[in-house]
């Protein structure tokens, strides 16, 4: 296999493993006041994982914080062979799934494309010329909202896989284990999620979502 085509923006790599390992050991040895420093870099990812499953900001925050408390209570069980971020995300996914099963939250389901089964091929709809969207575009709140809105329209099974894989940076196997599905299902759902989002955002471009972005006239970002 060749190297991944895209270098993912993985905060676990960015934060530096050595400092993180030091913090983990310190907390395990009783310096509990350092736990917040340990998990602070993962606040967004933990919250995003909970939000992807629960679809409600209040429930997502509660589940994310409860997951962090559980991680704190069980920090001695964490073993260095796993990535701390993966361990934390898996606790969060379990917490969110448990809450959803208990029915403690009302989940607003996304639009499911019932015309095609999960195993069926997804046919892209938009083939416009493209131009890469600069990452600076994310500084604009409007762009972030549009991207979140597009993600929210995905059916749950696609959204969860996409979030864990492309936003939380779990690998295929970790995503499969977290959601209790096969690796093959993860790949199928991920393909469909990516292609659906591509089409949704292309349509959004048509509607002027990104009209103030510095694209060349006549080209689309998707």
């Amino acid at each position: 296999m060749s190297e991944p085509d895209i270098v993912l923006n993985n905060p676990a790599q960015a934060t530096g493993g050595t400092r993180e390992q030091e913090l983990i050991l310190s907390v395990q040895r009783g310096q509990h006041e350092l736990f917040y420093e340990l998990v602070k870099p993962y606040e967004r990812r933990v919250y995003a994982a909970a939000l992807a499953i629960l679809r409600n900001e209040h429930d997502a925050e509660d589940a994310a914080q409860e997951a962090m408390l559980k991680a704190f209570a069980n920090i001695r069980q964490f073993r260095a062979e796993a990535r701390f971020s993966t361990w934390l995300i898996q606790i969060t996914v379990n917490e969110a799934l448990m809450r959803r099963r208990r029915g403690r939250t009302v989940v607003m389901e996304g639009i499911d494309d019932h015309r095609e089964g999960e195993e069926g091929d997804y046919v892209p709809r938009d083939f416009a010329d493209w131009r890469e969207i600069p990452s600076e575009a994310l500084e604009r709140k409007e762009v972030r909202q549009r991207l979140a809105q597009a993600l929210g329209t995905l059916d749950r099974k696609y959204r969860e896989v996409f979030v864990l894989r492309d936003m939380e940076h779990l690998n295929i196997q970790e995503t499969a284990e977290a959601l209790g599905i096969t690796a093959a299902s993860v790949k199928t759902r991920l393909l469909r999620a990516r292609l659906m989002l591509r089409d949704l955002l292309a349509a959004g471009w048509e509607q002027g979502w990104f009209s103030r972005l510095p694209f060349e006239k006549g080209t689309k970002p998707w």
Binding site: S2, R44, F72, L138, M167, R194, L195, L201, W222
Partner: protein
């Protein structure tokens, strides 16, 4: 099994996600690279898919609610305080407090309370002639005048001075050396009979 030399657009779309992840073998990757060079539609799909992965993979896409960190810190502090989450230094304070209270009470009690001897056998003597010869034996911490019928284990008895006996922790026998016991805790009158018995037995 994909025939790499005959890749059509549908086959490319099926593998495009794996291609972006680097999860295709070398022959398939080469065939797809070639297809993208000649197919504008698939090049557009690839570019859009890359955009999706790159944008959503950026942490800035989602903000945590305002005050999230502050609320989390508060909950962590609350959980750490009452449950077993204390450090050893945190345990030290209450433990030391308990020790100090206990020591303080013991010190105070040593001035206020005097526990009376439970038995006159444990009472120390007074005005005993230090050079008086007395008898001690194994298995007892009482010293006697020679011939006392209450000497334990006579086979091991030996004679020493009263001073030595007291130094070694022996106390006077309440029978044969009763006159030296001035504790005020001497028993009832029937002890007089015992004294007479002892004195007569030692020929006094």
């Amino acid at each position: 099994m994909v025939n790499h030399e005959m890749l059509n657009c549908e086959a490319v779309w099926r593998e495009i996600s794996n291609y972006v992840d680097g999860d295709v073998d070398a022959p398939l990757r080469s065939a797809m690279d070639e297809h993208f060079r000649t197919c504008k539609k698939c090049a557009s799909v690839l570019a859009g898919t890359r955009n999706v992965v790159q944008l959503y993979g950026d942490e800035r896409i989602l903000e945590v609610p305002s005050g999230f960190g502050r609320r989390l810190e508060k909950r962590l502090a609350k959980q750490a305080a009452p449950s077993g989450g204390w450090s050893w230094t945190a345990w030290l304070v209450p433990v030391m407090a308990i020790v100090l209270v206990a020591v303080g009470l013991g010190f105070r009690n040593s001035f206020i309370y005097r526990t009376p001897p439970k038995s006159i056998l444990a009472a120390p003597g007074r005005d005993i002639p230090p050079e008086m010869l007395v008898v001690v034996s194994d298995g007892s911490k009482v010293f006697h005048v020679a011939g006392c019928p209450f000497i334990h284990d006579k086979a091991t008895e030996r004679t020493i001075t009263a001073k030595e006996a007291i130094r070694d922790g022996y106390v006077p026998c309440s029978r044969c050396l009763r006159q030296y016991l001035k504790t005020g805790l001497i028993g009832p009158a029937d002890d007089d009979d015992a004294e007479a018995e002892v004195l007569s037995s030692v020929g006094r």
